[in-house]
């Protein structure tokens, strides 16, 4: 064991601070270690000063004055309590006295409760309005889809272009998907990580046109790039066919 541990023990060597095992180990170590012996001496010397501080107790001057002051405060409190009792002729009187004391607190609690109820109601109303708006939006959307996208006019080709954050559907009236070469990486990532476009938009589109296949524009890809995609994203082949 290092000296550091023993040095800590040397500082904690007053009765009851170390267990007998620790004391024995410490004593053995001190016998063989001169620096720890030296430290023990210095701690003992400092201990003498601390001892003198322990022995010289601070003196409370005029203790009666403090006692009198405290007793006066206590007595006045006790007599006030007694007065309250004396003035209330019966239990009903006591109750009234207590009620008058706590009526302020009761009023505070009631005001707080009223505010809490009002707040809660306004929150519920807000939620209902939100839900209604949402329902209206969904209904409008469904109706618009029914009218603008009849099955005969469903899209059969997509041209995709990309931004830094997402792949955007530009046109949906062709037989296959054309991906701009510059956006390819991002498109692959999007589909590979099952983000919005990969999972939802393409699947929905395919559901509407089960016979449709999604292609990349062969003019934008060379054979090495296609191999690279197949190698880095094998799962993508389930979703996309590359010409």
């Amino acid at each position: 064991m290092s000296c550091r541990k023993y040095q800590k023990w040397l500082y904690l060597n007053r009765s009851g601070e170390l267990n007998p095992g620790q004391i024995e180990k410490l004593n053995k170590h001190i016998e063989s270690c001169s620096s720890c012996r030296q430290l023990k001496k210095r701690i003992t010397q400092a201990g003498l000063v601390i001892h003198s501080l322990r022995v010289s107790e601070p003196v409370l001057q005029q203790p009666d004055r403090i006692a009198d002051k405290v007793m006066n405060m206590i007595r006045s409190e006790v007599s006030e309590r007694k007065k309250l009792k004396r003035f209330s002729p019966n239990a009903a009187g006591d109750l009234i006295t207590h009620l008058s004391r706590i009526r302020f607190h009761l009023a505070t609690v009631l005001i707080f409760l009223a505010f809490a109820i009002l707040f809660e109601e306004s929150m519920v109303l807000k939620r209902i309005v939100k839900l209604e708006n949402r329902m209206t939006r969904i209904t409008n959307k469904m109706e618009a889809q029914k009218t603008t996208l009849p099955k005969s006019e469903l899209p059969n080709r997509m041209i995709l272009s990309g931004t830094k954050r997402s792949v955007i559907l530009e046109s949906i009236n062709e037989d296959y998907i054309i991906i701009k070469k510059a956006d390819l990486d991002h498109f692959i990532q999007t589909i590979a990580h099952s983000k919005y476009f990969g999972n939802i938009a393409i699947n929905q589109w395919k559901r509407m046109n089960p016979e449709i296949q999604i292609f990349f524009d062969d003019s934008t890809l060379n054979a090495a790039e296609i191999r690279q995609i197949q190698h880095t994203h094998p799962g993508i082949l389930d979703r996309i066919k590359i010409l």
Binding site: K8, Y11, L12, R14, G16, E17, R42, I43, Q45, A46, V49, I50, L53, R54, S56, E57, P58, V59, L60, Q61, Q62, P63, I66, A67, K69, V70, M71, M73, I74, R75, V78
Partner: protein, 185 residues
């Protein structure tokens, strides 16, 4: 002794102010001693004595007879001392006692000097300690309480008490040595 205390406390609970005065006379010097050693200021320590006993009177119904009365007393005292120190720091008027405090005049001038000497030494040696280290040192080394008692009063695990004590003693030893060197020169 504890049986006598218990009787006094039971009487206090029944509203006996005489019994409370006896209890106060018995223990006010202990409270003063801890408060003075911690705050190093006589006026503040007297305030602590007053506040401690008023608090004891108010909450005597909450006293648990399983616990030692002195432990409860010291717990209240130490909490008030910590609060006082915090307030003092807030007010930014923590003055070095040996620079600012002047002995009061009056018949107890010797006692005042004795207190002043103690305050100067404690301030000098324990100046750099954190409030916790300082309180642990005062309760263990100056009030001579056991580690377990200190742990109960400060609501601190025994190992934390020992750790605080170690750092306090180490720091104080260094300061004592420096002080002794200065005196030799």
């Amino acid at each position: 002794m504890s049986e006598q205390n218990d009787n006094l406390i039971i009487q206090c609970r029944e509203g006996d102010t005489g019994a409370f005065r006896k209890l106060m006379e018995k223990y006010q010097t202990y409270v003063f001693s801890v408060a003075f050693r911690f705050l190093c200021n006589e006026e503040d320590a007297r305030d602590i004595v007053q506040e401690t006993f008023i608090r004891i009177w108010k909450h005597i119904g909450r006293y648990n007879f399983q616990q030692k009365f002195t432990t409860w007393l010291y717990t209240i005292t130490t909490r008030l001392c910590f609060d006082k120190l915090r307030n003092r720091k807030r007010q930014r008027n923590l003055k070095k006692i040996h620079e600012t405090e002047h002995p009061e005049s009056g018949p107890d001038i010797e006692k005042t000097f004795q207190n002043r000497e103690i305050a100067i030494l404690i301030t000098r040696f324990a100046e750099e300690l954190t409030p916790k280290q300082r309180m642990v040192f005062i309760l263990r080394d100056l009030q001579d309480l056991t580690i377990q008692e200190v742990s109960g009063i400060l609501n601190m695990p025994v190992h934390s008490v020992k750790s605080n004590l170690y750092y306090a003693r180490k720091n104080i030893r260094t300061r004592i040595e420096k002080w002794e060197k200065c005196h030799e020169l």
